[in-house]
């Protein structure tokens, strides 16, 4: 395979953004810009699908690897995918076009600049998922802050400045320690190439500190309790498309980082710190679910539910069981689809009523039935009803957790119940009940593009709910291999 398919995935959105940059910005609904952006991202999606088709599922080694000297004798630009990362790339390329279709309602001014930011964001996110060099990874990981900061700050809601600053500084603070760790790894082992590092291994005496440094970055990004507070703010103030990107993909960077780097590079330290992760995950699941119950703002509620769901993900990853890790990956994919869908459904009513408060709504089912049905599907997927993708993830995670630690699994299961409680209660208050607010009667049901976006999300949620095989097949070999290397590493130390 000589064609640099991964680099073209990374570069294509940037090319699209450059093209947009040289077009003239028009006021109002800038259709040309939108079509250009849409075209770029759809092509990118098709390339990633081709990537998936030609991906060899029977091996856990990295494929489509590109390796170029970047800084002489120090860093190589190295990208490649294995079973774990390919799904995240597809998730990214799948969500981004949907975001672009959705913007016509939520973004009023400077549409062209908004699309440029989204495209650049996409390219950085793909870069994060296929980087096979720690420095390259860090570069993409951090660079994503710039477009997201602008998306929240320029096109956000009333408290956008506060939220943008909080988002930026929190994440930066977490990440700088990771930079120290990356450079230290270079001096300890002489390389930052992930594949080589897997082979060499890192001396046990350094692992704990390095693990903590990586953890500080990923914990903020995941976000784990108690550093999750930036997320509700960022979500609430970001425009719909921004929230979608944030929830669906940005949060997954950290989960991916945990699997790829924390588990892969520091096996001994991962064992040492499993109790810490368990505790924080459990607190995240229970505590933020309770907070979610109390929310009056729909977006905030979904944001807290994201924290709880990511708690499941971190829990699953550090069970260090086949099912747990597979469950975590599927849960991340599923949460990517479901949270995106939920934010979009909130966006739909927000565009019409300009209110995110739950109390504004009630009785929507009699006004906008199509919307209500889709909303119900997503709500059920979020609580993990069998038949939706949410179920597969949560089920596998809990199975892994039961194998590893009974008590943790039991507490986490309570979290599932709470998850059902807040999302169903939200649905009840918004969709059912008496139609009191007179303004609601004038609401229009989903228009074509909204209907299209939400259906696009509903199909994979249902499909993978009934038939998760394609997902599991893709990740299986890589995860098995990860666990095996992990166990041999532990045994040898």
């Amino acid at each position: 395979m000589n064609f640099p398919i991964l680099s073209s995935l990374i570069l294509l959105p940037i090319v699209g953004a450059l093209f947009l940059f040289f077009t003239k910005d028009k006021e109002g609904n800038n259709l040309t810009a939108k079509y250009v952006a849409l075209f770029t991202t759809v092509v990118n999606f098709l390339i990633s699908i081709y990537l998936w088709i030609s991906f060899d599922q029977s091996t856990s080694s990295f494929q489509f690897v590109e390796d170029r000297t970047w800084i002489e004798g120090f860093i190589n630009y190295k990208v490649g995918v294995d079973g774990i990362s390919i799904l995240f790339i597809i998730l990214t390329t799948f969500i981004t076009p949907l975001c672009i279709i959705s913007v016509n309602n939520s973004v009023k001014n400077r549409l062209r600049d908004f699309l440029i930011a989204i495209l650049i964001m996409e390219s950085f996110m793909i870069g994060v998922f296929c980087a096979l060099d720690l420095v390259v990874f860090y570069l993409f990981f951090e660079a994503g802050l710039i477009p997201m900061f602008l998306i929240i700050g320029i096109w956000g809601g009333a408290r956008r400045v506060y939220s943008a600053f909080k988002f930026f500084l929190y994440t930066l603070l977490g990440s700088v320690l990771m930079l120290v760790a990356i450079i230290s790894i270079y001096w300890i082992t002489g390389t930052t190439d992930v594949v080589q590092l897997y082979e060499i291994g890192i001396d046990v005496k350094y692992q704990n500190l390095l693990w903590l440094a990586f953890f500080s970055s990923f914990a903020v990004k995941t976000p784990m309790w108690p550093v999750h507070t930036w997320l509700p703010d960022a979500h609430v103030e970001a425009p719909t498309a921004g929230s979608v990107l944030l929830a669906a993909i940005l949060l997954k960077m950290a989960g991916y980082g945990f699997i790829r780097f924390s588990l892969g590079l520091f096996p001994v330290a991962s064992e040492v710190f499993t109790p810490l992760i368990y505790t924080l995950s459990i607190i995240a699941i229970i505590f933020t679910s309770l907070i979610a119950l109390m929310q009056e703002d729909m977006k905030k509620l979904i944001a807290y539910s994201s924290v709880a769901h990511m708690g499941f993900v971190t829990l699953g990853i550090f069970t260090l069981q086949q099912q747990g890790i597979e469950g975590s990956i599927i849960q991340m994919i599923s949460h990517g689809l479901v949270s995106a869908a939920l934010f979009l459904t909130v966006g739909v009513v927000y565009d019409r009523m300009h209110s995110r408060l739950i109390s504004t709504y009630g009785g929507l089912v009699s006004v906008i039935p199509k919307y209500s049905i889709l909303f119900m599907l997503f709500a059920l997927a979020s609580l993990g009803l069998p038949g939706t993708s949410g179920f597969i993830g949560e089920f596998l995670i809990l199975m892994g957790a039961f194998k590893d630690n009974f008590l943790v699994a039991v507490i986490a299961s309570i979290g599932v119940i709470l998850g059902a409680a807040y999302i169903l209660w939200l649905y009840k208050r918004v969709v059912f009940g008496k139609l009191i607010n007179e303004d609601l009667k004038k609401m229009l049901d989903l228009n074509r593009s909204e209907y299209f976006i939400l259906s696009c999300l509903a199909v994979p949620i249902l499909f993978f709910g009934f038939y998760p095989d394609p997902l599991i097949k893709t990740i299986e070999v890589s995860v098995t291999d990860l666990i095996n290397t992990h166990n041999t590493n532990i045994a040898s130390k």
């Binding site: 420095v135 320029i154 930066l172």
Partner: protein
């Protein structure tokens, strides 16, 4: 016979200064031609420097009191290019304030000459001569807009404090001379290996003097006032060019005469570095004037440069030089933006004046966005790589405390830059600024922004050039 070719750049620039002075005296209305001729002179000096000295690994002249090596050539070239760009973008600003006189280019040329002497010095006396030559020119430049109170105040302040620091420096030099019996760096290096207290005093005095010149905390007090009061183009000159020369001298002092006394100065440099990084970041938080903010941010950036020097390794020196080079480019870009904030012959310097700039001036704002994120050290911009090399060198020596404090202060510093971005992008717009900028101003902004933005594609080139420097 000495090989005079090696100091041809200095000779040429001195002759040009004298010629320009004569020309200015005898010809009326000669400011324009002086400007152009001095640009020409700098250009030719640069070419001579590249031609004559760039391939020289190390040669000494005049009883070993002047040294020409890779570092001196490289730093001279950066100084000259910096000086050229400052001169070329200042004309509009000076015309606006009606201070477009012959003295300005001549003063800049003289200070550049002083810096070149400093950079090449291998002897305490030569070094001091160069230092004073550049300082005297800089005092006058600071007060150049003499009708404005603030400018005069800046010049006076700079003069008094700088004279004090020169005094300390001189006293330190005399102590070192007393102990080593020579003013030559190489001989001093061989003589100094005792642990005398008085010698430590000498080193401390010299370091304090140098720290003052590069405005490292706690010897930074002059910087914000002088930067704010001086004419903007002079401030640009202050933040870029003298720092390069001072840094070179710093490197020379630490790694030639004081190399054997590493235990004695290493803690001092680490302290200066940490104090500058932290103070630069924290003190900038409340600033409302852009030039003051830049002053504090330059203090912070000097802290990072010093962190590279504290490592006592070639790697560290390289990283410092890379840092200062990238910093010079970022500063040039930022000041080009600042010089574009002009409305009807009035220049705007408050952060609030940038409010909503992105609506009326999207391109200018985009440039500022890139520059500010780069200053904050966010990848993939050049500023990130600058910091990255520094911390790479610092961590090689396992100086974790320095690295972690440095990186945490980047987060605080990032807040300051984000604040400006917020004002540019998130706030409501004000009136339009003039857009009829000189071609050179546009050119310097575009080129420096593109360099910052695309540095990540070819990061190896700069390293390659810099890694030819071998001091230790």
């Amino acid at each position: 016979m000495e090989n005079l070719n090696l100091i041809l750049p200095e000779i040429f620039i001195s002759l040009s200064i004298m010629f320009l002075l004569i020309l200015g005296v005898f010809k009326n209305d000669s400011s324009k031609i002086t400007f152009n001729l001095s640009l020409f002179a700098i250009l030719i000096t640069t070419i001579i420097t590249i031609n004559e000295t760039f391939s020289v690994t190390r040669e000494t002249l005049f009883n070993e009191s002047v040294v020409v090596d890779t570092m001196s050539s490289l730093m001279k070239i950066i100084t000259l290019i910096g000086g050229f760009l400052v001169l070329v973008i200042s004309s509009t600003y000076l015309k606006t304030f009606k201070i477009y006189n012959i003295e300005y280019p001549i003063l800049i040329l003289s200070s550049i000459l002083g810096m070149m002497v400093m950079i090449s010095s291998n002897d305490l006396i030569v070094f001091y001569m160069g230092l004073e030559l550049q300082s005297l020119a800089l005092y006058v430049l600071a007060t150049y807009n003499r009708d404005q109170l603030k400018s005069s105040e800046a010049g006076l302040k700079y003069f008094v404090l700088s004279a004090l620091s020169s005094g300390l420096l001189l006293y330190g030099c005399s102590l070192v001379y007393g102990f080593s019996g020579s003013t030559n760096f190489d001989i001093i290096s061989n003589q100094l290996n005792s642990n005398e207290y008085v010698l430590t005093f000498g080193i401390v005095f010299i370091l304090v003097g140098l720290a003052f010149k590069i405005s490292a905390v706690p010897f930074h007090m002059w910087a914000p006032d002088v930067y704010e009061g001086s004419p903007t183009t002079v401030t640009l000159f202050f933040t870029m060019v003298p720092k390069i020369a001072a840094l070179t001298v710093f490197i020379r002092f630490l790694y030639v005469p004081f190399l054997n006394l590493i235990d004695q100065w290493q803690m001092i440099i680490i302290f200066l570095s940490i104090a500058s990084m932290v103070f630069g970041a924290v003190a900038a938080i409340g600033q409302t004037n852009i030039k003051r903010l830049i002053a504090y941010s330059s203090i912070g950036h000097i802290g990072y440069t010093l962190a590279g020097l504290a490592t006592a390794s070639n790697e560290g020196i390289h990283s410092s030089i890379i840092y200062i080079s990238i910093y010079v480019v970022m500063n040039l870009a930022l000041f080009s933006c600042l010089l574009m904030l002009r409305r009807k012959d009035k220049y705007y310097e408050d952060i609030e004046d940038l409010s909503g700039l992105s609506k009326n001036h999207p391109l200018l704002s985009l440039c500022m966005l890139v520059i500010l994120f780069s200053l904050a050290g966010i990848p993939p911009l050049a500023g990130f790589f600058a910091k990255f090399y520094i911390f790479k060198a610092v961590l090689e020596q396992s100086m974790f405390f320095l690295a972690i404090v440095g990186l945490l202060s980047t987060v605080v510093a990032a807040f300051n830059y984000l604040r400006i971005i917020k004002i540019i992008y998130f706030d409501t717009e004000k009136d339009k600024y003039d857009t009829d900028h000189s071609l050179w101003l546009k050119f310097s902004l575009t080129v420096s922004t593109i360099l910052i933005l695309l540095y990540f594609i070819f990061p190896s080139q700069l390293i390659e050039v810099v890694s030819r420097i071998n001091i230790i």
